[in-house]
Symmetry: C2
């Protein structure tokens, strides 16, 4: 019987915040893994990744759920996706503003509808009809960051084009902080979930990789992955799909994952992405080409913090 | 120097309409190929697939652009995507209601923004700001079909669940009619484009495979593909990506494409999907597991109609 295991991440990027914030992030990752392990005692990998991501969405210290960043208009809009090997199905939502926990809504899309991806006001309407908890709006910290950015834009420190490459480069100074979880349960089934507030100052309506099957998340009976980074590149590369396929039946999970990461970097450059991947034997690895990607791993009561 | 070539499709599904409609569909496919070939005389593969898809969107006889079907609420909402090997970039829009030609908006997303996928009211706002032509609303034919469906639902002929598997099966009696184009230009660059009104009576906000890179469309320097069918399955399988990878460097394009189609069918059953694919030598093939998938091929002044 397989040993249940779970890995979670708090996003690839620059993690040069104060030590207090970093400590809090590690604390949240630990809580997410503890929650996931508790669920895995009796529940499925699907239950585990959703509950673990929920912990991170609720934390307010990562860019997902409550802690989500804002778009160019100052609004929170979020993307999330989930996939489960037992059914081979996936569910995802994008450009949603209503739910506090987009990952929960993504699971409902998978289980209550025939569809895989539901977006915009229609997805928000579903969240409200299902009675999901409502998002409280951007945190004070996020509102301040937005106010400062708007002032810098007004002072002409940022090119005035619609949504230019230069704005993206300027933005890359901020950590992304997307969250994700991958798990294997006692029955050897795997699941993956990813949730994000997206890129700070993105165009309203922009959808990144997090709700795209094979890009931001992927799970089959062999492995599961959750990605983070510049969503546009991850979509073009199908990073989670390629990570799962590389790790599938690999003798050395770390080596296989690093090979995928190196190939991605050769195409899109450094400081662009990262992912966590787990195989059906519970072997997990976090690969990233950024300064850091805090992630945590738990199995058999043991929890390890990595990537910082 | 490569010979420019283009292939277009009008959607996999049941094509049991009257001979007059079928004749009109073939006429539209021929016009789309003629337009594409004319563009390829001096323009790029990207120009060619966008113009060819535009012809099909404007035709009103296929489920895209002007001829788009409606969702459960009776509204037209459309998805489209485009990809170009020269830049390796892609652009897509989903759940858009404003533009008459979603494929044109998808191209703008690719060329004017840093993003790949833009959705909902925000994408519609971009379309309006760019001065794109506005969608005229559902055709009389589509409105009549919707009215009949609503009556059948009211009479209890369709299960009343939210959006159930049974509704989908009931729906499968209708042809889908998604449109797509793939082309190779004189410089050996490839492009793919796909556009659709989605599934008749879909949940509002549902996004299918058409705007998802690697699912509804994909192009690299080796081949390009456009898919059609049950979007949810195509998303889970990454049908266009797999078609491109299979055909890439294959000795026999038809055999490689049929192998992908057979694998897809073994997983999701018959009557589920189809695709067209073209390689850099201009060899094209249309594979489908449905009753029909009207498609057309053009190169060197010669045009062939197939798939019916």
């Amino acid at each position: 019987m397989p040993t249940p295991a779970i890995a979670v991440h708090g996003g690839a990027g620059r993690w040069e915040r104060d030590p207090e914030t970093l400590g809090r992030v590690q604390q949240v990752l630990r809580e997410a893994v503890e929650t996931g392990l508790r669920v895995l005692n009796s529940g499925s990998a699907l239950d585990a990744v959703v509950e673990a991501v929920k912990v991170m969405e609720d934390s307010g210290v990562l860019n997902a759920g409550v802690g989500s960043t804002v778009d160019l208009s100052g609004s929170v809009s979020m993307d999330a996706g989930v996939m489960y090997s037992r059914t081979g199905r996936a569910g995802a939502v994008a450009y949603v503003k209503y739910p506090r926990n987009p990952v929960v809504l993504a699971r409902y899309v998978m289980e209550l509808t025939d569809h895989v991806l539901l977006v915009g006001d229609a997805a928000d309407l579903l969240a409200s009809r299902l009675g999901l908890e409502r998002h409280p709006g951007p945190l004070e910290r996020v509102r301040r960051m937005y106010g400062e950015a708007v002032q810098r834009i007004a002072r002409g420190e940022v090119p005035q084009r619609f949504y230019s490459r230069s704005i993206s480069l300027w933005l890359s100074k901020f950590p992304t902080g997307t969250v994700g979880a991958v798990a294997v349960d006692r029955e050897g089934e795997l699941a993956a979930a990813t949730s994000t507030g997206g890129v700070f100052l993105k165009m309203p309506g922009r959808v990144g990789d997090s709700p795209i099957v094979g890009a931001g998340f992927y799970a089959n009976r062999c492995a599961a992955a959750s990605a983070t980074g510049i969503g546009e590149f991850i979509i073009l590369y199908h990073l989670s799909l390629r990570a799962v396929e590389a790790v599938c039946n690999a003798l050395d999970v770390a080596e296989a994952a690093e090979r995928v990461m190196a190939d991605f970097t050769s195409r899109f450059g450094r400081d662009t992405a990262g992912f966590i991947v787990i195989d059906r034997l519970g072997r997990a690895y976090g690969a990233y080409n950024t300064q850091a990607m805090p992630w945590a791993y738990g199995a058999g009561g043991r929890i390890e913090l990595r990537g910082l």
